[in-house]
């Protein structure tokens, strides 16, 4: 026998109270306040080190080093506490489809946007990055969209405070005002039995964000990184040589292009010797960003756990002049009073962000600008090459010079936002089974911005320049109160957990803008000055309750009920009832498995869920049911007898409008093998949205508009999700954890109109660039939302599309609107994520990949630019074309050809991170991790455009996502 001493750590530092046990014996101890332990052992003994919420480790005496035993948070542990709406549960007791994603400090990606941390991590959840601008977020979809015209975004709850999804003016992405480094976990409530407690806002799922708090010893953490963003892809456009050739063969000549338009001799010289401009290379450049976060956490005298953090991020986009700078601060206090009877949680977060938005119009302009022109030609429009009229004024139809768009536009904003909450959780002294919980929360933001374009900018020339100032204030206040009663009734081996509550939330916002010209516009007598202001509010009031009943820890029943009132609907429709029921069966505990089976199978749970959720964020203002008049702006007035009247327009409305309801059925099976070394779950679901809000044509003459938003249709999402995670290799030196998830989802509109008219093709949607008012998509019965509605292209024997030749599908001898057909849809049928974490001694490596199958994209860049006409639409200016024109040979745009609808299935290597950890730097508890990562590494796809991942399925000059290389350091002490 000998005595060993050791020390146990978690990712935050030392871990007191961990259990250290000689396996198979009662010989054990727990770690002290500093994580140290001492134990009498024999050589060869297996030592088990465990702690609730962490993966148990086994170490062999004589082989292992006990001086630093790191326990990592085990997200698959059944006792893990999972945050749900108005309370918590454990994984084992959860009855709904709930996925918790704990942020692992070692494998998390460096990003400015919290939602990107979820990308590819859980089945059923899809994050589609909206673009490559700094701070850009992504479109979040949980189990497909349940709405057409109402919001499809999930409800986001930050530390118990539901926030609105409407964004903040002057902030590209409202969620990026939360520092991802302050986030501890995400919980995704996917099915209705889990989400229905959020009632009329939960139709598209709920994401609960829990931020970090402190505990234990005083710890300081610093992490910082430097990122290099590299533009990696460009749209294929004609080179100057190809362009000249096209001009010659298709348009007869190109000589007039070389007529110098400037009298400046230096420019004339440059002009004549000019070789060409690669506009895309001019607008994008590599950029650098850096980030620093410091946090201090611990517990003051074991009584006041706290965490304070400061973060700073400065990120420049690859599109020149885009910039995002963010400073965040967060304070979290967790004092306890009265012998832990009163637990208080205080969270305050603040952000100060400065944005500069690059004019993204320059992206399309760069694709289309004449490649034979120089950037500058000494014009009076800031010196930038500009298409002018005979009289020297700028032409209005051709796009402005891309570089001018960037350099002359100064579009800046500052955003201040604070959100916080104070939660008081009181366990009654006389009845400790009863808890009262009061949560008071707020979310306040203030933003202001200015867009300034000088009067000599060619596109503002006739408007006299632009000086637009705007302000916005948003306030969201919350009061939640609930009582929770938990009682074990041992006589009947049961446990009851009941909760009833009340919630009041008010959203208010005001905004104003002043849009002025800088000089008096040509031909006018005064400066343009348009002031606009707007204020609105809405109130949500709710009563809710939940009853959990568990019998023998094996049979679990959950009922929830929420009654929601929303100010957005008329008194008759104001209140909605959202029930749910779920049953879970811990089959593993039944005892009918043999011991051998039991050894192999460590968890088996069946879950059945049913619930109704709603969607009250209907994208139609806060008073959609009211008969209102809108008073016209001065620019839309009408003269009667020389006096200009601001006109009074009675607006169309639906007095009976109400929320959508989504009924979800869910069957799930959780499983674990080999002592939870392999875990996973499979879920099948059906989500039926009824009273689907859709913008439908109203019978002409019956209302004050031609189409209104009304509750008319039904829509279904059906799907299967599967996830599996396993520690493929698990030993002292080498660990390999691999997690894979796959989702199949199909979306179908099942009813769309009041009268089921068989000739009604559907609701047009999906506006495209090219022409005026053109749309490429349709919501049609029996098809997925936003399916493409196109002509079927005819190809020649060389598989080239024949211009203007489409299949005459109705065989009437003419190609008309009636020959269009529904061809595929933008959302993938199948999407998957695969995340790997490997560690060897002090090294770690993580890899994440994602794939989408059968997501279709309409290549609007090619459909708009891939034709000879667009090169020379008018006699007075030229545009570049995409090289696709060399394949199609199209003379005119063929916007509606299915040739442009492409299968954009892809496999992406999203991220690779390599890290190296150095322990005990200057003290035993100090450590450092160095890492390097590459983001957006590679994409395998057949899609011909820049990026196959396009939210909404219409590719129209997106801000390309750069390849990002990051070097960082994470220091704890």
């Amino acid at each position: 026998q000998k005595t060993i001493t050791g020390k146990v750590y978690d990712d935050m530092g030392t871990l007191p109270g961990a259990s250290v046990l000689v396996k198979g014996t009662a010989n054990g101890t727990t770690t002290d306040i500093d994580g140290n332990f001492t134990l009498q052992v024999n050589d060869g003994d297996i030592i088990e080190v465990s702690y609730v919420g962490f993966a148990t480790r086994e170490l062999i005496v004589g082989q292992a080093d006990f001086s630093r035993i790191v326990l990592s948070a085990d997200t698959e542990v059944l006792d893990e506490v999972v945050v749900i709406g108005y309370g918590t549960t454990t994984k084992k007791d959860a009855t709904g489809s709930v996925t918790s994603v704990k942020i692992d400090e070692d494998t998390k990606i460096v990003t400015a946007s919290p939602e990107q941390m979820l990308s590819g991590k859980t089945p059923g959840v899809q994050i589609t990055a909206s673009g490559g601008a700094p701070g850009d977020g992504g479109r979040i979809r949980i189990r497909g969209g349940s709405s057409l015209s109402a919001s499809n975004d999930p409800l986001i709850v930050i530390d118990g405070v539901p926030v609105d999804n409407d964004g903040i003016n002057g902030m590209g992405n409202a969620l990026s005002s939360i520092n991802p480094n302050d986030i501890e976990s995400f919980t995704v409530l996917k099915d209705a039995s889990a989400a229905a407690i959020y009632g009329s806002r939960a139709s598209n799922g709920v994401i609960i964000i829990t931020t970090k708090s402190g505990k234990g010893d005083l710890k300081v953490n610093y992490n910082g990184s430097v990122s290099f963003h590299l533009p990696s892809e460009y749209v294929d456009v004609l080179s100057p040589e190809e362009f000249k050739q096209v001009m010659q063969t298709k348009h007869g000549d190109y000589t007039f292009l070389y007529e110098p338009k400037s009298t400046d001799s230096q420019y004339m010289k440059d002009y004549i010797n000019y070789q060409g401009t690669d506009w895309q290379k001019e607008i994008f450049n590599p950029s650098v960003g850096h980030e620093h976060n410091v946090s201090l956490s611990g517990s003051i005298k074991q009584r006041l756990p706290f965490r304070v953090s400061l973060g700073y991020l400065d990120d420049n986009g690859i599109l020149r002049t885009s910039q995002f700078e963010r400073t965040t601060a967060a304070v979290s206090l967790r004092p306890n009073f009265f012998d832990n009877h009163l637990k208080v949680k205080l969270n305050v977060k603040g952000v100060y962000a400065e944005n500069r938005f690059a004019d993204t119009g320059s992206i399309g302009a760069a694709v289309g600008f004449d490649p034979t022109k120089p950037i500058m030609n000494g014009s009076k429009y800031g010196g930038y090459t500009t298409w002018v009229q005979q009289n020297g004024n700028p032409q209005t139809l051709p796009s402005a010079n891309p570089i001018a768009l960037l350099e002359l536009t100064n579009d800046e904003s500052t955003v201040k936002r604070s959100l916080g909450n104070a939660e008081f959780d009181y366990k009654f002294h006389f009845l400790p089974d009863l808890r009262a919980n009061l949560n008071l929360g707020y979310d306040y933001s203030e933003s202001e911005g200015q867009k300034y374009v000088p009067e000599y900018a060619s596109w503002q020339y006739f408007a006299g320049g632009q000086d637009r100032n705007y302000e916005q204030r948003k306030r969201n206040t919350l009061l939640d109160f609930y009582l929770n009663y938990v009682k074990d009734i041992e006589d009947i081996d049961s446990r009851i957990d009941a909760m009833v509550g009340y919630s009041y939330q008010k959203f208010w916002r005001t905004e104003n803008s002043l849009d002025e010209s800088i000089v008096i516009p040509i031909g006018e007598s005064n400066k343009r000055s348009i002031f606009d202001d707007f204020t609105t509010e809405n109130v949500l009031l709710s009563y809710f309750g939940r009853l959990n009943y568990s019998l023998k820890d094996k049979y679990l029943l959950t009922f929830t009920l929420r009654r929601d009132g929303s100010s957005r609907f008329s008194e008759d429709n104001r209140w909605g009832l959202f029930p749910s029921a779920a049953f879970a069966w811990n089959i593993i505990d039944e005892g009918f498995l043999s011991s051998k089976e039991e050894k192999a199978l460590s968890n088996l749970k069946l879950r059945l869920g049913y619930g109704v959720t709603g969607q009250q964020n209907i994208n139609n203002g806060d008073y959609p049911y009211l008969a209102k008049y809108t008073i016209g702006q001065p620019t839309a007035s009408y003269p009667l007898g020389g006096k200009y009247y601001l006109t009074y327009r009675p607006d169309g409305y639906d007095a009976n409008i109400k929320w959508e309801e989504t009924t979800t059925y869910n069957v799930g099976l959780d499983f674990g093998f080999l002592d939870e070394r392999i875990t996973g779950s499979i879920d099948a679901y059906l989500r039926e949205t009824s009273d689907l809000l859709n913008v439908v044509p109203v019978p002409a003459g019956s209302n004050l508009t031609n189409q209104i938003l009304t509750n008319v249709g039904t829509l279904e999402n059906r799907g299967v999700e599967f996830s599996i995670a396993t520690d493929i290799i698990q030993n002292d030196d080498f660990n390999w954890n691999s997690a894979f998830n796959i989702t199949y989802n199909e979306n179908e509109i099942t009813k769309l109109t009041v009268n089921d008219d068989p000739n009604f093709v559907g609701v047009y949607t999906g506006g495209i660039s090219g022409g005026t008012g053109n749309t490429i998509q349709i919501h049609a019965i029996g098809k997925p939302a936003s399916s493409f509605y196109v002509y079927e292209q005819v190809y020649d024997k060389n598989e080239r599309p024949i211009e203007g030749m489409y299949v005459d599908r109705n065989k009437d001898g003419k190609i008309t609107e009636d020959d269009k057909y529904i061809y595929e849809a933008p959302d993938a049928d199948i999407f998957m994520g695969w995340n790997n974490t490997l560690s060897y001694k002090n090294w770690d490596l993580s890899l994440s990949m994602r794939a989408n199958l059968n997501n279709y994209v309409y290549n609007n860049v090619n459909s708009d630019r891939g034709n000879y006409e667009s090169v020379r639409t008018k006699e007075t200016y030229l545009n570049n074309a995409t090289t696709d024109v060399l394949h199609t040979g199209f003379n005119h745009p063929q916007y509606f050809s299915d040739y442009y609808v492409e299968n954009a299935s892809f496999l992406k290597l999203d991220n690779i991170t390599l890290g190296y950890r150095v322990n005990e730097l200057w003290s035993p508890k100090s450590s450092m991790r160095l890492f390097a990562s590459v983001k957006n590494v590679f994409t395998w796809t057949d899609y011909s455009g820049l990026d196959p991942e396009i939210a909404g399925g219409i590719d129209n000059n997106i801000y390309p996502r750069p390849l990002t290389v990051t070097f960082g350091v994470n220091v704890d002490f």
Binding site: G523, Y629, Q633, S702, G773, T816, H892
Partner: protein, 498 residues
């Protein structure tokens, strides 16, 4: 706390039914919206808070849609764009899903609904001035219903008696609509302000008479019963009401055409205050393209959209404009024939409408013209009078000839273009209507009345979808009811053929 759910709009630009109408000026602002329904497309100007959905706001303009349906389908105009299904109008192959057919249909229905709402609220008020507003609202509703019966034949029928909400309006037949419009106009004829006595841009007796004249002139098409004598009577009323031909034809289409005494009913536009991407903004910009200099038109740039057919150019013996000043062709850089519909430079451009005053000054804004759209003008009354005479509606043949020659003298500058009594035939009148009234959104109606709209013997390029032109189906004399409304309202029946 549940009382907190009773929120009301906080925005000062939004009012509820209850508090909107307080003063006479409030009612006038409500009336202004019905007028503006012909001009603007929403409450923001030029675009934003649009009146209609599912269509580009600028395209949804009343005047613009009227121009699309009345012009692109005829021998006067073709459009070069590929916006949605607009080429189907050029070719005469439109379907019930055609977006502009839908746009016009809903714009008309919206105008009717606006008028109904106003009449419902205002008719209770006994104030004499407000009652005048009601007559004008009824005129505007009749105008919209006339466009409905002219273009669509049958149309869903609603009046101020129907409350706004979820119901299916019945379909009125063309004959029923005819009767309704006639009855309404006859009822307000002597109640509304006397001809020429109302404020600028407001309807008066002259406008009512003009609409009655046009209704009767086309009565045979609408109902099967010709009403030539009534057409003659109301044309004569207008001619005798004190309107005067503008001295210079060109001035009728310029930025200061609000000064004209020839225009009977106008749709007003203003560069600063009545902004839209439709209306004359569309007509002027779309007519400019190719090598044309936009500054000549008083605008900042052309859209390269609309130009004349060769068939229209051929209606003038001399297209230079030196002889007949109504020939306002731009031939430089433009081919006469439209070989390629999508190419603006195929087909002569037209320099009729401009955002320049008669003194050569620019309008108040380079994008949005001050030029008003002359919906009804005296020259049309002259032509209607002559036609009614020739068709046997009575009246004086000599007088008819004199009216026509008055128009010709203005066009030619002297009597060199005058015709004699023998030349005053129906064929001549159809041609003359083109020369006088082209691009004023009358052509489709005229061609139908003369039996030429679908006729295979009366051809223009791209009629029927081929470059040489061919006949089109007879049922195309009315447009289809949009499939969206067939789907929404089970009371509707599609027009035959579609």
């Amino acid at each position: 706390c549940e009382g907190d759910l009773d929120t009301i709009p906080l925005d000062k630009d939004q009012k509820t039914e209850v508090d909107i109408y307080q003063t006479t000026e409030d009612y006038k602002a409500g009336l202004a919206k019905i007028y503006a329904g012909l001009a603007t497309t929403g409450q923001q100007g030029p675009a934003g808070q649009g009146d209609l959905g599912g269509i580009d706001e600028g395209i949804s303009s009343y005047v613009r849609q009227l121009f699309y349906l009345q012009q692109f389908t005829t021998d006067e105009t073709k459009v070069a764009w590929n916006d949605q299904t607009v080429q189907d109008l050029n070719k005469g192959i439109w379907t019930p899903a055609e977006v502009n057919v839908r746009g016009m249909y809903y714009r008309i229905a919206f105008e009717v609904a606006l008028a109904n709402e106003f009449i419902r609220v205002a008719k209770e008020n006994t104030d004499a001035q407000i009652q005048e507003f009601v007559y004008e609202a009824r005129f505007l509703r009749a105008l919209a219903y006339w466009h409905a019966l002219d273009m669509f034949g049958n149309f869903p029928f609603v009046t101020e008696e129907d409350a706004v909400g979820n119901f299916n309006p019945p379909m009125a037949t063309r004959a029923e609509l005819f009767q309704y419009v006639e009855t309404e106009l006859l009822d307000i004829e002597n109640k509304i302000a006397k001809a020429g006595m109302n404020e600028y841009a407001r309807a008066d007796q002259g406008a009512v008479w003009m609409l009655l004249a046009k209704l009767y002139l086309n009565a045979e098409v609408y109902t099967g019963n010709a009403r030539w004598a009534d057409a003659l009577k109301y044309s004569e009323n207008i001619i005798n009401a004190g309107y005067q031909l503008e001295d210079k034809y060109a001035n009728l289409f310029l930025a200061d055409n609000d000064n004209s005494n020839e225009i009977i009913f106008t749709v007003a536009f203003d560069g600063q205050r009545t902004q839209t991407w439709g209306g004359t903004t569309f007509i002027i910009h779309a007519a400019v393209g190719g090598d044309m200099d936009p500054s000549v038109f008083g605008i900042d740039g052309g859209w390269g959209g609309i130009r004349a057919t060769a068939a229209f150019a051929d209606k003038f013996d001399d297209i230079s404009g030196d002889v007949d000043k109504r020939a306002m062709f731009v031939t430089d850089g433009q081919a006469k024939e439209i070989a390629d519909l999508s190419k603006f430079t195929d087909g002569y451009a037209i320099a009729k409408y401009k955002n320049i005053t008669s003194n050569g000054e620019g309008g108040s804004h380079l994008t949005f013209p001050d030029t008003d759209f002359p919906m009804f003008r005296l020259a049309d009354a002259y032509l209607m009078y002559a036609e009614a005479v020739v068709r046997g509606g009575g009246g004086s043949a000599t007088q008819a000839l004199a009216y026509i020659n008055e128009l010709r003298e203005r066009a030619y500058g002297d009597d060199s273009g005058n015709i004699n009594a023998g030349e005053l035939t129906l064929e001549f009148l159809l041609e003359e209507r083109a020369r006088e009234l082209y691009w004023e959104a009358h052509r489709r109606t005229d061609l139908i009345r003369f039996g030429k709209f679908t006729d295979a013997n009366y051809k223009w390029e791209w009629k029927g979808g081929n470059a040489d032109g061919s006949g089109i189906e007879d049922y195309r004399k009315v447009f289809p009811i949009p499939s969206s409304d067939i789907g929404a309202n089970p009371n509707l029946k599609q027009n035959p053929g579609y």
